[in-house]
Structure formats: C-alpha cells, structure tokens
C-alpha cells in the first residue's frame, strides 16, 4: 500500500545500478509496463529486484484504450501476465488513443470529450479492470490539438469515468498545465471538477516551450507554474502518491531525488493544512 505522502521516481535503465546500490528513500518506483512485456532476462530481473525493495507502479503507454479499433486484447493479456507476475501497487493507463486501422503511432493522442467517447472509455476500462481483476488509474494526457465536437471538459469526462467504472484518476499536473497554456484555459478550473477520493496518483514532469506551443517532453525539471499547481492540488484535493516523471535527456539520479524531495515537502505541508 502506497501512502498518500509517498513520492516516487520513474525507474529508467541508466539508473538501475545506482538505485540498487544506494537504495534511496522513495515511496515507490514507476516503470512503463510495456518495457517489461518480456518472458525473462535482465530487465525482468531488475523489475523483480525493484519489486522486492519498493512498491511498484506499472504505467502503461500502449494499450490505446480510446482507439475506434477493437481493444487490443493481446496487449491486455501481456499486461495481465505482468500484473500477475509483479503484483504492483498501482496500474495505470491513459485517456487517449494510439492508433487505428491496425496502424500504431506509439503516442498518447488526445480524444474528443464526447458522450460517445465516454461510453467507449467506460466499456474499455470495465474490460481492463475485469481482466486485471483490480481497479486501474486513468491519466489525463497532454494535447496539442483540441476537437470541435467536444461536449464537455476533459475533467468532467474523467470524473464521470471514475463514477461509472470505479477507476481513479492519475492526475498529471504537467499535462494539465501544458493544455491550459496550449488552449488558453484555466488549469485551476479543472481541479474544481475533482474530489479527493477520485485521485489515485499525481504526475509531475517538465515540458518544452516552443513557438508552436508547450510540448510535453518529460525532459526537464518541473517548472514553477506546475509546482504552484501542485501546491493548489494538494490544498484542494489532499496529498496523493506523487511521481517525478523524467523520460528524455535523463539527468543524474540525484536531480530526480532532489525533485522528489521538493514534492515531498509540498505534500507534507499541504496534507497538514488539508487535514
């Protein structure tokens, strides 16, 4: 069981040896599920060692829950096998699609927030939770385009998904901020659509600022605006297990631990205030 005050980092290959050597005091480790869709070998051994030392969060990036194609049952079967093998504390996926017509873009593409998509996602999440025999977390994604046909806000859709399926929200505050800037909306308004019990995990990450908009790179430190959004989220929604997510231009482990330390102090301060 991961405490609400737990802060974790993504476990990435260049840090494997150092994490096992130093055993930093972290609340959990998160890995991309698909990196461990393997029968055996060195990577699986690493994940099993990590599992013995820390609570584990399996974060999926390839299930393409919102694809208009049929659900990728083979992919789900691989996830089920990994979940049975690792018995993680958290399992998460995204409110997104990754491909259609058999073609996969291996990306987290945004969905229109329509009643049809709500129905589709509800059915898909029900199926995933039936197969995995456990509730999952569903993450809000960063987006560079928005849809004409959207009938509700992204977070109204997510809140309804939580209500219908019993899943919880993986609230990615960097994605929320990136979208707020890209589409000129108020990130705090989204927090008002949520209640503390809906949240299962929070993600914090860095992004790149380009002249076409903010791009979610997971390649820098968390920016000041996202830290203040985190502070606001902890105040309104309480502390929740929080991950420092860093995937590109990976820095020294100490930089991740430093970011994790900042998150832990914000969460501890606000948890007291919230209680």
């Amino acid at each position: 069981m991961i405490s609400n005050l737990a802060v974790g980092v993504g476990l990435r290959q260049p840090h494997y040896a150092e994490v096992f050597e130093r055993r930093p005091a972290l609340g959990f480790l998160e890995v991309h599920s698909e990196n461990f869709f393997l029968d055996g070998g060195a990577s699986m051994r690493v994940l099993e060692r990590a599992r013995a030392a820390y609570p584990i969060s399996l974060h999926g990036v390839g299930l393409s829950l919102g694809s208009a194609d049929a659900l990728a049952e083979q992919h789900l079967a691989k996830l089920r096998r990994l979940v049975e093998r690792i018995e993680p504390d958290l399992v998460s996926e995204h409110l997104s699609w990754g491909g259609v017509g058999g073609r996969h873009f291996n990306d987290l593409l945004p969905l229109p927030s329509t009643r049809d998509v709500l129905d589709l996602m509800s059915a898909r999440i029900d199926r995933v939770q039936d197969v995995l025999k456990r509730p999952i977390l569903v993450e809000n994604v960063s987006a560079y385009v928005a849809y004409r046909d959207s009938e509700m806000s992204e977070f109204a859709l997510l809140a309804e998904l939580v209500r219908r399926t019993g899943c919880r929200l993986l609230l990615d505050l960097n994605n929320l901020y990136v979208n707020a800037v890209n589409f000129g909306t108020d990130p705090l308004a989204a927090l008002n659509e949520l209640a503390p019990a809906m949240i299962g995990e929070i993600h914090l990450a860095g992004h790149a600022d380009t002249d076409a908009g903010l791009i979610d790179t997971h390649g820098t430190r968390v920016c000041a605006e996202v830290w203040s959004l985190y502070d606001a989220a902890c105040r309104r929604l309480g502390a929740h297990p929080t991950l420092i997510e860093w995937d590109t231009d990976l820095p020294a482990l100490d930089v991740l631990l430093d970011e994790a330390g900042i998150a832990a102090s914000v969460a501890a301060r606000r948890e007291v205030a919230h209680a």
């Binding site: 208009a68 996969h104 291996n106 990306d107 229109p112 049809d116 560079y144």
Partner: protein
C-alpha cells in the same frame, strides 16, 4: 462509433502524410495554421518513437550508420513496415528486409545480415530464463537411445548465417571492446546467438557445429543432427560441442521417446 472512427482515421492519415492534413483539420477546434503545426508535433513524436525503438533493438547498426543515416533508415522503416502494436518490443522484425531493399544495404552489403544478428540478440534478451539442466542422466541411457534424444534449447537461441564476418563486426562495436579493430573481410561467419544467464552471448561457430545446431534446433534427434555435421566436416567433435553448450545452459534439457 462512426464519428470517432472517421475522426481517428483522418488524423491518422494526416500523421502518416502531411499532405492529408486538410481532412484532419476539419475535426479540430481553433486556428487551422496553428493546428497544422501542432499535428507536426505528433508526426515528429511517431518518428522519434520508431527511431528510438529501432535503436534499442539495433544498437550496432545505429553505431555503424551514425545517428542521421540511422534516422533516415528509421523513416524508411516507418514507410515500409509501420508500427502495428503498442508493444514496441515487437517493432523492428523487418529491418533486415528494409535494409536489403534500401540503398544503404546495397552500399554496405553486410548490413542486412548484421540486422538479422541484432534482431536475434534482441529476441534473446527478453526470452524466458532457461531452467538449470543436469545432463548426467543422458550418460545413463543406452547408446541407441542417446542417439534418439532431442535437445531442448534455451528460448531465444538462434543461428544467423552470413557470407560476411558479422560476429567480428558485432564484437568490435560492443561497449568496452578494447582489442584490435581489424576485420578480415574474406570469411563469412555463422553466429550462434543465445542467452547465457541474463547475458546475450554471440559466438562464431564453424560449419560443422552450425549444421548440428541448426538440425537440433529444428527438432532432429542427436544422431541425425551429428550425421549432418559429419557430412560437412569429418573432424566434427560432438562431445566438445555439447560440453560447451550444456555448460552455458544453451542446451537446457532433452526429450526421449520411451521404448515400446
């Protein structure tokens, strides 16, 4: 869900080909010029995902070509054999064929075989761990039954045959290689790719050994496989070969049909 299907199809079309953007734009809110630039972010993401996944499976090809030529090859791969799975471990099976059909493969003729070797190593990396094998029971069998046994090979074990010295090329590109960088281009090599514990090992094997391994991997009994090897190389030494393959756990079991 006809609308979502049409919407995703149109966006997918625009991600595959920028000239198809107009169909995607009709689904999007906001400024069309900006949306076109934003679709390009997704197009770049898909390209980067393919390059990264191929680089993970083909680190030596990436070193040989350098990052910019490798990125060009990755674009060609995306065009010829686009990703069909959310599991990127699966991406790259067709690289040898894509290389062979491309100008790069014609100017570097060993590249396609090197790709086959790296794909075999990639598959072996994540293959199931082999159970420990105590081979002493084989010695207890009468001679005629020994010849009839079939070996069980560790998952991921593969042979790659080439007219180029692919094992040597692979070896000098490994991290920490500190020997001579010379390559004798006059000889071909057969690579045995196999997991040894958690490590992926690549060994050059001679033609007799290769004939035995290929036959045994294909399920032939030991006696028949050894005869194939002897037909190619009269000096084939089965005992020496088996000692090594059993010690490395590459051979990790056997099956023997019961006598009636």
């Amino acid at each position: 869900m006809p609308d979502l299907l049409a919407c995703e199809h149109d966006i997918a079309g625009a991600l595959c080909d920028a000239r198809e953007s107009a169909r995607a734009l009709r689904w999007l809110a906001g400024d069309a010029v900006l949306n076109e630039r934003r679709l390009a972010i997704y197009r770049a993401n898909a390209a980067a995902a393919t390059t990264k996944a191929l680089g993970a499976a083909y680190p030596v090809i990436e070193q040989v070509l350098g990052p910019s030529a490798f990125a060009i090859l990755a674009r060609e791969y995306q065009r010829m054999a686009p990703s069909t799975s959310g599991d990127l471990n699966e991406l790259g099976a067709a690289l040898a064929d894509v290389v062979a059909a491309h100008e790069m493969g014609r100017s570097l003729p060993y590249l396609a075989d090197l790709a086959r070797l790296e794909w075999a190593a990639h598959r072996a990396y994540g293959a199931a761990d082999a159970a420990p094998f105590d081979a002493r029971a084989i010695a207890q069998l009468p001679a005629h039954r020994q010849a009839a046994i079939r070996f069980v090979w560790a998952a991921g074990t593969a042979l790659v045959v080439s007219e180029f010295p692919i094992v040597r090329i692979w070896r000098i590109h490994q991290a920490g290689f500190d020997g001579e960088f010379s390559v004798d281009w006059s000889t071909g090599e057969v690579a045995l790719v196999a997991r040894e514990g958690l490590r992926v090992a690549v060994h050059a094997v001679d033609r007799g050994d290769a004939a035995f391994i290929a036959a045994s991997l294909a399920g032939e009994p030991v006696g028949a496989a050894a005869e194939r090897a002897l037909a190619i190389d009269a000096a084939f030494d089965l005992g020496r070969l088996l000692t090594g393959l059993i010690a490395s756990n590459t051979i990790c079991g056997y099956t023997s049909e019961q006598e009636p």
